[in-house]
Amino acid sequence: MTTDAVAKIIERCQALYEDLDFEGVKRWKAAAPGRKAVGYMPLYVPREIIHAAGMLPVGILGGGDQLEVIQGDAYYQSYICRIPRSTIELGLTGKLDCLDGMLFPSICDVIRNLSGMWQIMFQGKYVRYFDVPQNFDDAIGGEYYVRELQVLREDLAKLAGADVSDAALRGSIALYNENRRAVRDLYAYRSREPWQAPTSEVYLVLRAGMLLPVEEHTRLVRDYLAATAAAPRPKRDNARVALTGAFCEQPPLALIKSIEMAGCYIVDDDFMLVLRWLLDDVPESGDPLHNLAQSFLHRSVSTASKFEARREDKGKYLVQQVRDTAAEGVIFAAPSFCDPALLDRPMLLEVLAQHGIPCTAFKYAENTGQMAPIREQAGTFADSIKLWSAA
C-alpha cells in the first residue's frame, strides 16, 4: 500500500460525499429489478431491519455547503436550523426521488415536524416518524420498543412485497456487527495515531457508510485502515481534542479541516452516530428484535436527545470518551438553533469543568463559509492546551 492507495479511497469517498443526486443509490437500485431504498435522518434507526427487507438504507444529512437552498427557505423561519430546509430542497428538486421511503428519528421537534411535512409534501412515499423509548426498563420501554420495531418490520415488508424473516434479520445484524467492529477499529486507530488518520479523511470514510451497502462500507473501512497504516505520515505536536455537538446537522468538511489545520487532532467525535449508536455486537442468535431492543436500551451511546435518568450520570459518557481517547480538551461544535445540542451544552460544560477538562464552544451551519474565526478559536484553544500541559 502507498499514499496513492489512501488517496484513491478518499477520492472515492469524496465523490460519494459530493453526490447530491444520489447516483450511487440509483445505480444500486438499477442493478436488480424491484430494489428499493429507504432514507433516514440522524440520529439512529435500526438499519438492520431495512437491510433485512432487501432494501438499501440511505443516510440523509442535509445538503451541506454544496447545495443552494432556494425553495427550502420558503418553508422555515430564520430561527430554524438549516438541515430541514436543505433536506426539503433535496426533496423538492427531485434528488430524493430514488428513495421509496423516509424515516425521521426522534431527535428534536424540528425533525419530528418534518416527518409530518414529508407526509404532506411527498404523498405516495412511505414516511415514518421513528420513536424510541426514553424509558429504559425492559418491561416498559423495552416492550414498547420491540412492538415499534415490529411495526417497522411489517411496514417495510409491505413496501418490499415480502416478509422480513427472523433469519434475514439475524443475517443483517451479523453484517452490521461487522460494520460496527470496523468503525470501532477505525476510531481506535485514529485515537492511537491521529496523524495517520486525519478526521478530514475519517469523516469521508464514515460518510460513505451513509450511501454504500453495508458489506461494501465495511470493506472500505478495512481497506482505508490497511492503506493508511502502510503509509507513515509525520506526527505533529497537535492538541488532542474530542468534538461534540455535531450529531445531526453536519459541519462542512472545510470546518473539520480548519480545526485540524489550527493544530488539533480530533480523536473522538459524534458525527453520524448511527454507525456507532450500539456500542458493541448485537447477539446474532435468538429473537432479533428483542436483541436490537436490548442493545438500544442498555448498550448505546449517550447523547443530547436521550434522557439521562440519573443526575450523576449526566456528562459521564463524554468524560469517559475523553479519558478513553486521551483527549486533552473538548470542542463543542453545535449547529445554530440546534435545541438538543445547545440546551445540553451548559450541563456538559459544567461537568467538564468539574473534571478539569478544558473546552471551547462555537456554532456553525452546514453551509458555514467563513473559517477564519473558527481556525483562530481552535488554534487558540490548541495553544492554550499545550501551554497548560507544559506548565
Binding site: R112, N113, Q119, R128, E308, D339, L343, D344
Partner: protein, 440 residues
Amino acid sequence: MSTPIAMPVSKKPPAPVQKEDAMLLQKEMINSNYHDLAVAHDVGRKISATFVPGNLNELLMCFNFARSLPETNALQNALRKRTGKMIMDAERDGHSEDVCTYVKADLGMMLGGNLGPTGEPLPKPDVLLLSYTGCFTFMKWFELIRQKYGGEAIMLHVPYQGDGRIAPNMRDYVVKQIKDNVIPALERISGVKFDIDRLREYMRESQKAEENLVRVLQSAKHRPSPIDGYFGAVYYIGPMFTAFRGSPEATRYYDVLWSEVEARMRDGKGPITPEGEITEEKFRLVVEGPPNWTNFRDFWKMFSDEGAVVVASTYSKVGGIYDFGFRHDADRPLESLAEYCLGCYTNLNFPQRIDMICRYLEDYQADGLLINSIKSCNSFSAGQLLIMREVEKRTGKPAAFIESDLVDPRYFSAANIRNRLESYFQMIKQKRAAQAATVH
C-alpha cells in the same frame, strides 16, 4: 455563577383593566397557589413541578403535592415585564441565545433568588415530573434544573402521534410508566399511599369542569362571539391546564365562567378585553401558535382596535383537546390519563394539526387564519409556513404570518406586527368585496 444585572423599570402607569368576575376569581386562585407553594415546606408539604401539556394534575393531587408549572411561572413573570432581565441573566450564565426563552426565564428567575411572579419565594421542587409530551425542550429543561438545583426527575415519555393516531402500544406504554414508575416514585417522595378512588374523584371533578370549558370555547361559534378564543381563552384555560384541574375550585370557576359567557351570548354581547367590550365584530379569525406574553395587552389591543375577534385557536388546546370529545374518564383512570397526555395539541402530527385548523375555520365561520410564529418554540413553529399554505389551499381563506416570542421582549416588534395585521385585515376586506361582487 453570573451576577444578575439590574434592568430599567417603566414609569408609565398602566391604564385601568376591565375584568370579568371569573377573571378575578382566577386571579385569587393563582395567587393562592403561589402562596401554597411559598409555604409548602413550612407546613410539611412536598412540591412538584410539571409541564402544562400532558400534566397529571389529578394524580399529583392524590399525593398532596403543592404544584408548580414552570411555563406558567415564566408567562406570569412576562405579563409582569420581568422576564427580559431573567433571560439575559441566564444567557450571561452560559445559555445560548438560540434556545427556548421559557427555559431561560425559569433559570434566570432561579439565579435571581427564585422569587415567584407574586413576589413570594418559589421553593425548590421535591420532584420534577417530566411529562415529556409534544416538546423536546421539556426533557432538557428538567435536566438543567436537576443539574443546577438537585431534585429527582421522573420521566413520563409520551410517544408522538407520528401516524396521526394513538396506537394501543403507545397507550399501554404510557399506562405502564404511570403505574410502575410514576406512582411508586410519587408515593416514595410524598410519603402518601396512592388511592385510586381519590384519583377517580378528582377525575370526575375534571370532567365537570371540562364540559363547561368546552361550552365556553364553543360559544365563539355564535355571532357575535361572546369570547375571544385566543387572548380571552388563555384566561379560560388557565385553571384547566395548570394546578387546579380536578379540584372543586376549578369546577366552581368554570360554573361562574360559563354563566358569564352564556349571559353575554344571550345578550348578543362581544368579548370583554382589557380596554373594554368589543362592540362590533368585524373580523373572525383562527389563530395558530402561542401568544406573546411580554406585550400581551398591546398585542390584544391591535386586534380589538380593529374589531378582530379570535374565534378559535390551537394554543388553547395545548393542555388538552376537549372540544373534540376527550374527557377524563374516572372509570378507566390510568388509560384516560394516558390518552390525555397523548392527545395534547403539540403531540399531534402535521396532517392532524392542519385538519384541525381547517375544521375550526369552517365550524367557527372564520374569515381566515393568522399564525403567530414563536421564535422559542420549535414544537409549534417548525413547519408553520407549510401549515399556512395548506390551509389556504384547502379552505380558500386568507392566511397571514407574524413573528414574536413567548417571554423575550427583544423579539416583540409592535410596528412590524401592526403593519402586517393591518395589511391582513385589508386583504380580508378585499376578499369579501370580491366575493360580494361575484354573488351579485
